[in-house]
Subunit: 323 residues, 3 copies
């Protein structure tokens, strides 16, 4: 696992999607454009396609039913794939290499794409290194490390509302240290030339100094939000707030909760994002979450579109590689 | 939640199905007729349709795998829908409003119909009040309050065997106080002009006096079954029988179990119903459950047909509302 | 359950598949040929068909997510069936006969095929005796008794590599006493005229003397493997190794683990099989499992093909029986 992962095929297209690290901005833009083409107004039938007709997608999620799993499942089904859901405790199986046997088994059943969420860093890449040449692996979220489709859908959402990331000030707020969402957002936004990226967190939730290259760090939310075009709140794991006493949660809300008053100090048309699920009243108030500047539900809709785009791109790439 | 729920659209068709309360008998008959058209003899392929082609149905059942969930899943799939199953503990999420965020999330993924079973009264209506204009919510069973598709399928089953509910004597037996099945049956049968509705239960399982308007109450099963056309047994929650000692269960069986001898005191062609799953030997003997007067399996078959009818009606209604 | 199970219809075709006992070798060969026609090279799209279009297959597996369930699910979906997965604790429901009510319920929903895995001997046959004339039951593995599709896929795998079982020496190694895989392999291989079948196990894992008719028994692996054409390792239940201390596992590996050195004493082109999941380092080393003589992944691929063949055969048979 010391070699860089060859996510790309010889034609420069995605074979796997494990991380946004090192992805060419042109490729990211191509994926965003493809997802944009899957947009439909609410109430219209969802977009469909035949890109994955005859393909089998296996969802391997350690947690039984997450919104991300549902999002991938719908994306795959709407592109014509057969989907099987398997609750597998991958991490716990690493001993004895049986994780690889699980993957080999499913591969032998002619699974074409594995979507994997796992709490142990490196497992998803490990799987990608072991699958056959025609099989693709997509991360559905990896420990605190990476959540590439989330980073892409967040970039797409900003682009839809602000046109371009260049020149924008984007503020990410919360437990950045433990956030795969923040890490993938940083990669995507940086690749697309974000003007200024600000990290707002209490010291114990700030990432290591060598991480998040180019971002500014603010312990004060009031300082970090000033003049922002985009305010991206992270879900706080309540267990992480020191001892999670009610008073600690109140203090967290006071210092790092997004209220209407605080939002008023950002740019007038600033948009508010959250990857969900929200702790209403903790990191964000309902007034803001449901207010006119919130694009939170749009993020979810973009999630399905973005996953369709990634799946369709991978299917295209495989067809081009085929003799 | 003080306003009556607008289940119907401006054209008088169902947008949601949360309760049978206040439904027009004409609409109930229309739904029954539609379900009747989905009947197939055993061994024939099930009816299929394209009414939900391109639609996404999400099953949100707190209990992981119930027969009702399977019934809805098959109904939706056979009408061409994509179905996702999510095990969600809705009730436990009401705090912090996160139930609504779950629904908003799925709605943003372009789910068209939510089928929801929940143990907390009011949740399903609460969801229906919050979904977008093109989204429908169908109850899969709500606490002790309501189970509308069960009420409809029970009415359909009676109609198939007896032609018309007018003039019939229907006896419902068991823990009526805690039964959503009984409540929805009461609504459906009353709307269709049932001749006489009798409730048979021990005093502690009898509903409040103001409920079940028009029904006669009998503590004695022998009295309540005399001359009945339909005997509808309810599943007894064994935990509910005082302390559920074997002797209590025996006494319950003695007083409220349907035996062949008791059934002989109903009308000669009386039919026997049970919503399942049965406690054989408690509220019903196997001799009766599997006997010639039992229509219990027919109820199950009608369950799929009835749910197809409701889904197809809702899809029709939405198409008519579309500009 | 004292009568022999009528697995076959009047035309001599399978209606159920519960056991390989008594199956005609011609029928077994026909099933293998059909499965062979579903083979595709890796990277090619899986075979598909319309044989089960309009059919509903219910997977009833007590264990929530097994590879066998996934294999049956993919087989059914690729033949056009609708599939529902139900986690049911069948065995625990036998009391009060509610297992039969579960089956009747699903049958009334027009389920055509039940695939059942259960830990209690006799349950699957019991179900098959109670379903309607148009419904089929397929075992997905029954206690220690029988795993017929596994026996067939194992025979198929040998035939692909060795051409014919006649004249071959096949050695099965491990906890044969508790193995449904070994029992079904014995039936399949014997029906196809295997030259010599050898059982290798420590005394406490050896089956009763009257079982495995015609097989030779060896407590010594070194003796049993000599000159074998096929070495079929079984998964060891670690709990079964006396007290399962690390030293016991080491001793098991020493005496009954397949190493490269031991494999070298079989025939030069001998193939190595394992039904999975493997305990690498216990009953088999990774060197052997991933080595050139291993056909373990091919077994998995054959699993889907074999299940498609059984399902398609059963569908054919039903169509022929139809008036």
């Amino acid at each position: 696992m010391t070699q860089p992962l060859p996510q790309l095929d010889a034609g420069g297209r995605l074979r796997h999607l494990i991380t946004l690290d090192g992805l060419d901005p042109g490729l990211i833009r191509e994926l965003l454009d493809r997802a944009q083409a899957y947009q439909r107004p609410p109430g219209q039938p969802p977009p469909r396609g035949d890109d994955l007709r005859g393909w089998t997608v296996a969802n391997l999620f350690a947690e039984p039913s997450t919104r991300t799993r549902a999002s991938f499942e719908l994306a795959a089904v709407r592109l014509g794939a057969d989907v099987i859901n398997l609750d597998v405790m991958l991490s716990s199986r690493v001993k004895g290499e049986s994780i690889i046997d699980t993957i080999y088994t499913l591969e032998a059943m002619q699974v074409d794409v594995f979507v994997v969420r796992d709490a142990e860093p490196g497992i998803i890449e490990f799987i990608a290194r072991h699958v056959g040449g025609h099989v693709s692996v997509i991360s559905g979220g990896e420990a605190h490390v990476s959540h590439p489709t989330q980073g892409l859908l967040d970039a797409l959402t900003i682009r839809q509302h602000k046109g371009d990331l260049r020149g924008l000030t984007v503020t990410i707020v919360g437990d950045i240290r433990h956030s795969r969402v923040a890490r993938s957002a940083h990669r995507a936004f940086t690749a697309l030339g974000v003007g200024e990226l600000r990290l707002v967190a209490p010291p114990e939730m700030m990432p290591e100094p060598q991480e998040f290259e180019g971002a500014r760090r603010h312990v004060s939310f009031d300082e970090g939000i000033r003049g922002a075009d985009v305010v991206m709140m992270l879900r706080i794991q309540k267990e992480r707030i020191t001892v999670a006493k009610p008073t600690d949660i109140e203090r967290y809300h006071e210092n790092y909760g997004l209220t209407a008053a605080r939002l008023a100090t950002a740019k007038p048309q600033a948009i508010v994002m959250h990857p969900g699920p929200m702790n209403r009243g903790v990191e964000i108030t309902s007034e803001v979450a449901d207010g006119p500047q919130s694009v939170i539900r749009r993020q979810v809709a973009n999630g399905v579109a973005m996953r369709m785009a990634v799946l369709a791109h991978i299917a295209d790439a495989r067809r081009r590689r085929a003799p």
